[in-house]
Symmetry: C2
Subunit: 266 residues, 2 copies
């Protein structure tokens, strides 16, 4: 309860801020803000993983190029990915002038690809969803929030069967099932509150799938924290941990909802 | 010279085999063969980097999905990349059931992304080049081979200024300049031998750029070997090292030539 009291003011501010930004901000400023938020999460990932070779500015540049591929037709995704690969390879080639730095080479190359491929690439799909219409983003946020709450309350009350003891010891199969059911129902609620011309059956199934995947996305991010021996990814938001902690469910769910909408709803 | 004598028979076989495959094999079998070759290189990368958590079959599955994105229009690259991300995240989430396995999590996640993003993704551009016409692939192979020879002979004779002492101690600035010049000239030779309707000036500049980047692509692959304390990536080809050693220049140069052709030549 004490935790809830600490979180509540931040939660209210976040909700109002997110609503205003999603509803009223034009496309390009929205993408710019999204870039800054993901860049903040990338800095947290960088600190958590602690690469041996410097190169954080390159991570942020790679993110910028990936972001460009979402708006500039002359920069397709394949060109942006090639840029990430080439710039990182070259950077490490010229940085590693000492045998001692060789030890971290594979891990550091991997961290650069993770920042680009695990953060910037999937989270820019939040921009794609906003382009489909703000209500698609409200759908995603509502379904994930309700599914998380369902998992938390049911899991706390009757959770017995642990699913991933190392990544998230408090998550249980009972909570996962509750997330699927409550997220499915909130899919129906969402299209009532934020109309999207989609049959209710599709909205419910999509909500349930997002609710399931959200419960898988969050513990993968936890592995980064636990591998680093940390509880939160950062301390930016009181009671909420860091930016990465707030974004973790969207890493898998933002692209997934986009693909479900474009392949199935249409 | 002893090394040259060991290499020569394999080199002749490789040239005839590559020529026949590029000239006569239809698109889909070509892509299938290319997949098998990259998969072999991925196995070598896997052995060199020695991830803590198993999952080689997943690497090969991810490569298959990425390959599909190059021929199946219903599977765009963004969907294939999302599959790689999601499957790897989920796999590691369920594999890491023990605190001891947490240590390798970041590095292992990175190795999966490297296999997909540093091997399969760029090397499938060899297929794209073949689709543009076999002569584009002959251009690439000839330019890289001539540039490498130029760098080797000039570097051995007068090379003084080391560029990347850790990655490739025998490579020099003099060799790099020789690679740019000889590769540029071979660009002109290539369009005479294997006609492509492109102005000679463009072919020469493209050859020079490919010659330069090829000399950067190769030492990045060397870093993987040196980080593992190995000289060759494998022992498949007598005198030639492994598959990865044969493919290393193409990792950066295949996408680069494709982009130069589609953005500049057309």
């Amino acid at each position: 309860m004490k935790d809830l009291a600490r979180r509540l003011p931040t939660t209210m501010v976040l909700i109002v801020f997110a609503y205003a930004v999603i509803r009223f901000l034009p496309a390009l400023p929205f993408l710019g803000l999204l870039y800054l938020i993901i860049a903040g999460a990338a800095v947290e990932l960088w600190r958590l993983t602690g690469p041996q070779n410097r190169g954080l500015p390159l991570v942020l540049l790679n993110g910028l190029v990936l972001g460009a591929s979402f708006v500039v037709t002359a920069v397709p995704l394949e060109l942006a990915f090639f840029f990430v690969l080439f710039s990182t390879g070259l950077y490490l080639l010229f940085m590693i002038r000492d045998r001692d730095l060789l030890f971290g080479f594979v891990r550091d190359f991997g961290i650069h690809l993770l920042a680009a491929g695990y953060l910037f690439f999937p989270l820019f799909f939040l921009f794609r969803l906003k382009q489909l219409g703000p209500n698609h983003l409200f759908f995603l946020i509502l379904v994930i929030a309700v599914g998380d709450s369902g998992a938390y309350f049911v899991g706390s009350a009757i959770g017995r069967h642990k699913i991933y003891p190392v990544a998230s010891p408090r998550k249980s199969l009972e909570g996962l099932i509750a997330a699927v059911i409550t997220a499915g129902l909130s899919g129906w609620l969402s299209v009532l509150l934020f109309p999207i011309p989609v049959p209710v059956r599709m909205a419910v199934v999509t909500g349930a799938v997002i609710g399931l995947v959200s419960q898988l996305s969050d513990p993968v991010e936890s592995l980064f924290k636990r591998a680093a021996g940390q509880k939160d990814s950062g301390t930016l938001l009181p009671g909420h941990g860091g930016l990465l902690d707030r974004l973790d469910s969207y890493i898998f769910c933002a692209p997934l909802l986009y693909f479900m909408v474009t392949y199935w709803w249409k």
